[in-house]
C-alpha cells in the first residue's frame, strides 16, 4: 500500500475495485467505515453484489474481466470534464499528453458496451473520484489475478496520476495483501529477481555484494517463476524442490498439471505444520513450529514491521523454519548459518537490506516502523511517493493501455462465466481454518448462482450441479443468490474435496505470470437428472 491503514479513515472519496474487503480484509473495512461515517463517498466496482457493494453510494457491477474498459471510460470522463490536476501532472508525471490523446476514443458509452456498467454510472463515479480532495483506491486479487493484471493496475495508476490523489493522507493506490507475511516473503528475498530488500539480481553491484556475503558466485540473471518451475518439472527439466509452508497442489490453478509436476520430481521436500495434500506427495516432510510457537517478524500490507512471539512450546519435535534451513544449509556445505535465534537471522537481514538498515530485532518489537527505514534513527515511511516516485526520473509515467479479452470467453460450449474468491471464515487452502472451528460457517462449498439462472438452467437451490470447464469438472451444491449477476457463477477456493481451482487457470499475465484465477468459462448441468415431482 502506498498509504498506511490509518489513512483509510481519512479519504472523502473511496474507490474499491476487485476487493471483497468485508470478507477478505474485514478489519481494513472497519477503518473505511470510519471515513464513511464522516461522510465519505464510497464507489465499489465488482461483478458481484458483495456486502461492500450494498454499502456503496455508487455501485458499478462490471462484467468479469473488463476492469480496463471501465477504467478507460472513467479516465475519459475526468479528462473531458477538465478535472485533471495539471499542476501535479506538470511536476510529477511523464507522457501525459500522449495519454490524454489516447483516452479520447474511450467514451463511457464505449466502456458500457464492454463492461456493461451504464455510462451514466461510469460518469458519476469518475466525477466523484476526481472531484474529491482526498481520493483513495483500494484493490486486491480481483485486479491482479487476470491475464491483464498488470494492465489493470496500470489503469488504476493512470487515474491516480491524472487526479494527483497520491502522496497525501487519505489518498493513494493501495493493494491489500492476502497473506499475513506475503510482503515479508518478498522483503526477505524469496523472489527470482531480487535479493533481500528488493535488490535486483541483475545489478552487478548487488550480485557482487551477495556473492561475497553468501560465499559463492551467484547467477547474474533472474531465476524462473514458480509457474515456470512447475512446467519445467513436467518436462523433466526440474528435479528437486523444497516447498515451504504452501499447499501448492490446492492453492495453484490447474491442479492436475500441478500434481503431474510434483510427481515428476525426483526429490520433493515439504516443510509445513500439517500433512497437506502437497506434503503427502513428498519424499521428505519436515515439521515446522507454528504461529504462536515461533518468534519472528512479519511485514503487513502497509509495510509495518512487527514481531510475532511464541506463547506456547512447539508441538512434538516441530522446529522453527530458520533452524531447519540452517541445518540443511550446513549439510550442503554452506557456511554462514551459525544462527542461535530468530533475532540473529533478522538482524542479518537488516544489515544487508537498505530498506531495513535502520531496523533491528529490538526496534521491530515496537511494531511502529514502516519500511523503508534507511538508517538508524529514521522514523520509517508510512506514506510513499510524497515527493517522488521510485523511477529513474522520479516521475510517474502514464501508460496507454488497451482493453484485452480474458484468456477464455463464453461460447456455445461453455456459456457461463465462473469467478472465484474467498470466504470470510476461511483462508486459502483451509489447512488452518478447517482445524480451528471455522467449518461451523460454511460446512460445504456452494456455487452461487443467480435465482433466475437457477430456474433457467433447470437447477434447484440446494441441489447438486455439475460444473465443467476445459480443464476438468466438479460437483457442487447450488446456492441461489442475487449476489451473483446473471450469467456469472461464483465459487471459492480452498476446499480440497471440490477444489474449484481444478477448473481455472486458463492463462497467465505475461509480465507477472500471475494465474488468471478470477475468470474462466464453464457449463453447468444438474448433477442428478431432473425428474418431475410426483403430484
Amino acid at each position: 500500500m502506498s498509504n498506511p491503514l490509518s489513512d483509510m479513515e481519512e479519504p472523502d472519496v473511496i474507490f474499491c475495485i476487485g476487493t471483497n474487503m468485508t470478507e477478505c480484509h474485514p478489519v481494513a473495512a472497519t477503518r473505511l467505515h470510519q471515513a464513511r461515517r464522516r461522510g465519505a463517498t464510497l464507489i465499489v466496482a465488482d461483478p458481484r453484489r458483495i456486502t461492500l457493494a450494498k454499502r456503496a453510494d455508487i455501485y458499478l457491477p462490471l462484467k468479469v474481466g473488463t476492469d480496463v474498459a471501465l477504467l478507460l471510460g472513467m479516465a475519459h470522463v475526468i479528462a473531458r470534464e477538465g478535472l485533471v490536476d495539471s499542476a501535479f501532472i506538470e511536476s510529477r508525471t511523464l507522457e501525459a499528453d500522449a495519454f490524454l490523446e489516447h483516452i479520447k476514443a474511450f467514451t463511457p458509452e464505449w466502456a458500457e458496451g464492454i463492461c456493461e456498467v451504464p455510462a451514466v454510472d461510469i460518469e458519476r463515479a469518475a466525477l466523484a473520484y476526481a472531484r474529491g480532495r482526498r481520493g483513495a483506491v483500494y484493490y486486491t486479487l480481483g485486479i491482479t489475478e487476470h491475464i491483464c493484471g498488470v494492465d489493470n493496475v496500470q489503469s488504476l495508476c493512470n487515474l491516480v496520476l491524472m487526479t494527483g490523489h497520491i502522496g497525501r493522507a487519505g489518498t493513494g493506490i493501495n493493494p491489500m495483501r492476502g497473506q499475513n507475511n506475503i510482503q515479508g516473503a518478498g522483503d526477505a528475498g524469496g523472489l527470482p529477481n531480487n535479493y533481500p530488500g528488493f535488490q535486483s539480481v541483475e545489478k552487478p553491484e548487488f550480485q557482487k555484494k551477495f556473492s561475497a556475503l553468501y560465499g559463492r558466485q551467484i547467477d547474474g540473471e533472474c531465476g524462473i517463476t514458480k509457474v515456470r518451475a512447475l512446467e519445467y518439472a513436467v518436462d523433466g527439466k526440474m528435479n528437486a524442490m523444497l516447498i515451504c509452508g504452501e499447499n501448492t497442489l490446492v492453492s495453484d490453478p490447474d491442479r492436475k498439471h500441478c500434481e503431474k509436476a510434483l510427481r515428476a520430481l525426483d526429490h520433493l521436500v515439504v516443510v509445513d505444520i500439517f500433512l497437506t495434500e502437497t506434503a503427502e506427495l513428498a519424499d521428505v516432510v519436515l515439521p515446522a513450529s507454528a504461529w504462536g510457537e515461533t518468534d519472528g517478524v512479519y511485514a503487513n500490507t502497509e509495510r509495518r514491521v512487527q514481531r510475532v512471539r511464541a506463547a506456547v512450546p512447539p508441538q512434538g519435535q516441530a522446529k522453527p523454519e530458520w533452524w531447519i534451513m540452517s541445518q540443511l544449509a550446513k549439510r550442503l556445505g554452506v557456511s554462514g548459518f551459525e544462527y542461535e535465534s530468530a533475532a540473529d537471522v533478522f538482524n542479518e537481514l537488516c544489515e544487508v537490506s537498505p530498506i531495513y538498515k535502520g531496523l533491528n530485532w529490538e526496534r521491530a518489537g515496537a511494531a511502529s516502523y514502516h519500511w523503508p527505514v534507511p538508517y538508524d534513527g529514521h522514523p520509517g515511511t508510512p506514506r510513499l511517493h510524497e515527493e517522488t516516485f521510485p523511477s529513474k526520473t522520479g516521475r510517474g509515467t502514464f501508460k496507454r493501455i488497451e482493453y484485452r479479452e480474458p484468456a477464455e470467453v463464453v461460447d456455445d460450449e461453455y456459456p457461463v462465466w465462473l469467478t472465484t474468491g474467498r470466504r470470510l471464515q476461511h483462508y486459502h487452502t483451509r489447512t488452518m481454518t478447517a482445524r480451528a472451528g471455522m467449518q461451523y460457517f460454511v460446512p460445504e462449498e456452494t456455487l452461487e448462482v443467480h435465482p433466475k439462472d437457477v430456474e433457467a438452467w433447470g437447477l434447484t437451490d440446494g441441489g447438486k450441479v455439475r460444473m465443467a470447464s476445459r480443464r476438468g469438472a466438479v460437483e457442487l451444491t447450488v446456492e441461489a443468490t442475487d449476489r451473483s449477476p446473471r450469467g456469472t457463477v461464483f465459487g471459492s477456493f480452498g476446499f480440497g474435496d471440490t477444489a474449484v481451482d481444478d477448473l481455472t487457470g486458463a492463462g497467465y499475465d505475461p509480465v507477472t505470470e500471475t494465474a488468471e484465477l478470477k475468470v474462466c468459462v464453464v457449463r453447468l448441468q444438474p448433477a442428478v437428472p431432473y425428474s418431475e415431482p410426483v403430484a
Binding site: 506475503i182 540473471e221 528437486a240 526429490h267 500439517f274 519424499d283
Partner: protein
C-alpha cells in the same frame, strides 16, 4: 521554560484546583483522564461516540446545579471542575448499587473478554454488593443460542449499549439492537433470534467491549477451570495481510484464546472472526509432530538427523546429476521473515542460482 509559552496558547480549565490546558472539542472526561483523575465509567469506550447513559462519570461543575456527565460534556475555558467530592462519590455509589442490583452475583472470569472486569473492579472500589435494591433485573440470558463463539449471558447485562454501538459504529454491521426500555431492556438481533440468523460476522468486538462479561468469549471460557495463571503474549494475527495486533492468551502450555490489541497500529482494537476465534489449529491433533521420510512408498517417522541428511542428499544429488538449475525452492507467504531469509540464502549460497519464488503469484 518554553512549556508555558506553548500551553498559554491553549484554553485552560480548573480541574480539582489545578489549571490545565485542553484542546477545543475535548470532553471533560478526556481532559481529566490525561491528568490521571480516576473517574469511573461504564458506558464509555474511547472508540465510540459517548452516550452519557450510565452517568457514573458525573463531576461537579461550578455554576451547574446538578453534576454533569463528564464523558459527554465538552470542556469550556475557565470551567471549574471537581471530580471526586463527597457528593459526587455518593451519587456514583448509589448509581452503582442500582446497576449492580440487576445482576446475579457471579464471579466473572477474565477469559470472558478484555473489558469484562470493569464492573467487578468498580464494585470492589465502591464496596457495593447489590443487596440494596434487590429484586430488579433487566435482560435475560439466551440459553438457546448455542453458537460456539459468543456466550450471551444477558442476566449480567447493565444496558450500557457498548455492544450495539461497537457493532454499528466500528463494524458497520448493525447486527444487534436494543429492545424495550427500563428493566425490560434486552439486547437482541433482528427478529429477536440467534446470532447465526442475524448479520453478525462473529468479529467478537461486542464481547471485547462488554464491561460486565454479559457477552463472553465462549472459546476462551472453555479454559475457565484451568487453575494455571493466565498469560498474555503480544503478537500479530496469522491470517491476512492487515497484520492486526493481538494478545495470545495461554495457560501453562495451552493456547486458550486471542484478544485484539487496543494499541495495534493496523487494527486499533478490531479483529475479524478468524483473528478472534480461529486459533485451534496450533494445538490440533493433526499437527505434524515428527519428521517423515518416504520408505517403500510410505511416509515414516525418522530422527531429525536422518531426515536432514536425506533431504540434503537429495538436493546434492539433483545438482550433481542434472546441474544446479535442477533445484528449486518455494518460500511461504505465511512464515516469518527468518524462514524466507534462510531459505533464499541456502539456495543462493548452495547452488548459486536465483531459483526461488514465493506464493504471491497464485
Amino acid at each position: 521554560m518554553s512549556v508555558t509559552s506553548v500551553t498559554s496558547e491553549l484554553p485552560t480549565l480548573e480541574l480539582d484546583g489545578d489549571h490545565v490546558p485542553f484542546s477545543l472539542g475535548e470532553t471533560i472526561y478526556e481532559v481529566a483522564q490525561r491528568h490521571a483523575c480516576e473517574i469511573p465509567t461504564l458506558c464509555y469506550d474511547e472508540r465510540l461516540d459517548p452516550l452519557g447513559g450510565c452517568r457514573l462519570c458525573v463531576v461537579e461543575v461550578e455554576g451547574f446545579r446538578s453534576p454533569v456527565a463528564s464523558c459527554t460534556t465538552k470542556a469550556v475555558a475557565g470551567m471549574k471542575v471537581r471530580t471526586s467530592t463527597d457528593a459526587v462519590e455518593k451519587h456514583r455509589r448509589t448509581l452503582l448499587e442500582l446497576v449492580v442490583s440487576e445482576n446475579p452475583k457471579a464471579r466473572i472470569d477474565p477469559l470472558r473478554g478484555a473489558a469484562s472486569q470493569e464492573l467487578t473492579v468498580l464494585r470492589n472500589r465502591y464496596d457495593v454488593d447489590g443487596s440494596r435494591f434487590e429484586g430488579k433485573t433487566s435482560g435475560s440470558t439466551r440459553h438457546d443460542d448455542k453458537n460456539p463463539f459468543i456466550a450471551r449471558d444477558y442476566d449480567q447485562c447493565i444496558s450500557c449499549y457498548r455492544c450495539v454501538r461497537v457493532c454499528a459504529e466500528r463494524e458497520g454491521d448493525y447486527a444487534i439492537s436494543v429492545m424495550n426500555r427500563g428493566f425490560d431492556t434486552q439486547i437482541t438481533t433482528e427478529f429477536n433470534g440467534l446470532l447465526d440468523d442475524s448479520d453478525c460476522t462473529y468479529c467478537g468486538q461486542c464481547v471485547q467491549t462488554c464491561p460486565t462479561g454479559a457477552l463472553g468469549d465462549a472459546k476462551a471460557m472453555r479454559a475457565q477451570d484451568d487453575p494455571a495463571p493466565l498469560k498474555a503474549t503480544r503478537s500479530v494475527c496469522s491470517y491476512c495481510g492487515v497484520g492486526c495486533g493481538v494478545d495470545l492468551l495461554s495457560k501453562g502450555d495451552k493456547l486458550v484464546g486471542i484478544r485484539p490489541a487496543r494499541d495495534g497500529g493496523a487494527n486499533a482494537g478490531a479483529l475479524c472472526v478468524k483473528g478472534q476465534f480461529a486459533f485451534d489449529f496450533v494445538q490440533h491433533s493433526d499437527r505434524l509432530t515428527e519428521p517423515l521420510v518416504r520408505k517403500d512408498g510410505e511416509l515414516r517417522p525418522v530422527s531429525w538427523d536422518e531426515v536432514l541428511d536425506r533431504a540434503a542428499a537429495g538436493f546434492a544429488k539433483a545438482a550433481k546429476d542434472h546441474g544446479r538449475h535442477s533445484v528449486y525452492a518455494v518460500a511461504s507467504g505465511r512464515a516469518p521473515h527468518e524462514s524466507t531469509y534462510t531459505l533464499q540464502k541456502q539456495i543462493r549460497g548452495a547452488f548459486g542460482t536465483n531459483y526461488i519464488d514465493n506464493c504471491s503469484r497464485a
